[in-house]
């Protein structure tokens, strides 16, 4: 028993592997937030008037909002006046080849094991790399353009496609939605925009790598994905962040709109810096992600693997407005050391015959707290709707916590909602069985945890699944032997 505890402790005390600071110049504005700062951000980005108004409107609402306190999290006070709300690489690069890219950036990607060169070749993945909130490089744009797919940085979209942005911005996540969404709406620096026209099946997985960089800079991304009738797109988001001593705030917003029979698959691997073993540093990740199935028979699925961040506050949601629309949420959340995660989803059934499924696998180790929080709401008009939720928690060691907070609200007689949750520890007999076949305890834990999370990992696109497995292993294995 004691031996096992020791190994568990060693196995779970793996240090963050991707910690480093890349060193390239930033163009920052002074710390703090007020209407002038917002005007400056908008001006620096040469935005049209409607964007400025959107930001100011959000800011004014934000001022009146309290910071949410209902999550099972201990959030240290955040001084919102001590944050730099805009920073961008000074050189506005327009590269054709990688040779022109800042060598530091290439180095950064190399350390992550995802060099851009390989990325370009990799299974037709277009990469829109966001470093310090400004899009640096977009590839495969031409291929996409042929199909009429728009995939560009948010700033570019504001310039090139203002009508689309104006039409859809804030549709899924209104500025008044919550404290962090309002903050993002006021100050967001950049992000991605993706538009799939009618009847188009996007020919490649779209992906973005996010990075937090310049010290003391908050990161406020905004992603907007619009899928017109009968279209399909699979979008990947992955992130990893450099090691830092001071906490960094990340408040992103992702909005998805799916029209008739459209399908959007959104996958995330999140590995922001979680802080060190003593719980010092680490990213505060307050994210609002929401999709609206506006059209009939449309489908939005969220798949996430969350291993990083000191604090995660994130509930990717689906509002099923269209009849027969479908929402999915698949999640693996790993917490270790002093990490805290309060994550889950909201499934709002409005249309008839709507279906949603929730699969959540929480894994807690060290001194961490890992909570699932989810809402399933079936409105009276959403007749014949179905939801099935499965929320499992796995505990590694006796000093962590695993919590489950589902909310289920049903308002008609023809719908069926089922929720199941279990909590268990990793099986000693499973570890012994592996040991007896010559497999070390550390490998056994990695193997069992990956097996436990498999149902969700299988939902990820192939190239991401591999990365996700590595991340799970890194989060929980590594330092032994």
């Amino acid at each position: 028993m004691e031996e096992q505890d020791k190994i568990l402790q060693e196995v779970t005390s793996q240090e963050y592997k991707f910690g480093f600071v890349s060193d390239f110049e930033s163009d920052s504005i002074p710390k703090g937030l007020n209407e002038d700062v917002i005007r400056t951000i908008s001006a620096k980005k040469n935005e049209p008037e409607f964007m400025l108004q959107f930001r100011l409107d959000a800011y004014r609402k934000w001022l009146k909002m309290p910071i949410p306190d209902w999550a099972y999290l201990k959030i240290p006070p955040i001084d919102f006046q001590d944050i730099i709300y805009y920073s961008a690489p000074k050189k506005k690069p327009q590269y054709e080849s990688l040779d022109e890219v800042d060598p530091d950036l290439i180095e950064t990607f190399n350390k992550l094991g995802i060099p851009l060169e390989e990325q370009k070749v990799l299974a037709g993945v277009a990469v829109d790399a966001v470093i310090d909130s400004v899009s640096v490089k977009t590839t495969f744009k031409e291929t996409l353009a042929e199909k009429g797919v728009i995939f560009c940085s948010f700033s570019e979209a504001v310039k090139e496609h203002p009508d689309l942005v104006k039409k859809y911005l804030g549709m899924s996540v209104p500025t008044s939605d919550n404290f962090f969404a309002a903050l993002n709406s006021a100050v967001f620096s950049d992000g991605s925009f993706c538009y799939i026209p009618k009847g188009v099946r996007c020919p490649m997985e779209l992906s973005t790598y996010f990075r937090i960089n310049a010290a003391g800079t908050g990161q406020f991304e905004r992603t907007l994905i619009v899928a017109e009738d009968d279209s399909y797109v699979s979008y990947l988001e992955g992130c990893t962040a450099p090691m830092r001593d001071e906490n960094q705030l990340h408040a992103a917003v992702v909005e998805i709109i799916a029209m008739d029979r459209a399908e959007v698959k959104y996958s995330t691997v999140q590995n922001w810096y979680p802080g060190n073993k003593e719980g010092k540093g680490g990213v505060y990740n307050f994210v609002t992600k929401r999709g609206i199935c506006r059209g009939e028979s449309s489908k939005i699925s969220w798949t996430q693997v969350e291993t990083g961040s000191a604090i995660t506050w994130k509930y990717p949601s689906v509002i099923m407005m269209g009849d027969n629309s479908v929402g999915e949420f698949n999640s693996v959340a790993v917490t270790n050391n002093h990490q805290q995660a309060d994550t889950g989803t909201k499934m709002i059934h409005i249309g008839k015959n709507t279906k949603s499924t929730i699969v959540s696998k929480g894994i807690s180790a060290g001194l961490s707290d890992n909570s699932y929080r989810g809402l399933v709401k079936v409105l009276p008009g959403a007749v014949n709707s179905r939801n099935f939720s499965q929320c499992d928690s796995l505990l590694l060691g006796s000093t962590c916590g695993a919590h489950t907070f589902p909310y289920i609200e049903v308002g008609n007689k023809s719908s069926i909602v089922e929720h199941e949750a279990t909590t268990s520890k990793i099986g000693e007999d499973q570890i012994f069985y592996c040991n007896q076949r010559g497999i070390s305890t550390e490998d056994a834990i990695g193997m069992i945890v990956n097996g436990y999370a498999k149902e969700v990992l299988n939902k990820l696109p192939m190239e991401f699944a591999v990365e996700a497995q590595k991340l799970l292993a890194i989060s929980l294995e590594g330092s032994v032997g």
Partner: protein
Amino acid sequence: MLTIKNLRVAIEGKEILKGINLEIKAGEVHAIMGPNGSGKSTLGNVLAGKEEYEILDGEIWYEGEDLLELSAEDRARKGLFLGFQYPVEIPGVPMVNFIKTSVNEHRKFKGLEPLTAGEFLKLMREKKELVHLDSQLTNRSVNEGFSGGEKKKNEIFQMAMLEPKLAILDETDSGLDIDALRIVSDGVNALKHPERSTIVITHYQRLLEYIVPDCVHVLYQGKIVKSAGKELALELEEKGYDWLKTHSL
């Protein structure tokens, strides 16, 4: 190959093994019989290195090494195999990955390169035939949804893959019908080798008709009360374990 001297073992403060002495030479097959609760499975688990047991006294020497000093995985890598009475299910972990990891861990320990995918598949095909293991089973998660018989066959299949020096088969016959019993025994016999030894733990004499032991030990209330040749098994079958009660006093 294996020498056990005065082994005393307790679990949760209760003494289960009360001074076991046993000597097994290379190439020998030993059967350990005894009624339920006599400590048979405890002996198997202690040899394999399960941690919840408390060793009160005694020594175990395996191939000239102090076995009690080794971790469970190192015992396995050094060729000690335990065929479990109740193989545990590990959801989500494909059998193929599991056995591949296991085989390559054994090879790494011996300083060998890992098997290539092709070599591995070939080996697996060969060994599966040996125990007539349904090919589908290796695509499933470890032991998940296997019937009792399939689990036991799977244990023998893994033994064949790993070619251990000392195999301990804990109640491998329980829950098997006569055909499965023959298949499992054939598998065990096929692996017989002058350098390899086997300990067969069983409640019934039935299995010993197929796997003929060199020596039979009767374990009763934590002690080996009688050791003799294979004929002892028949005697036990005839007289039942009750016979021991009077006999051992």
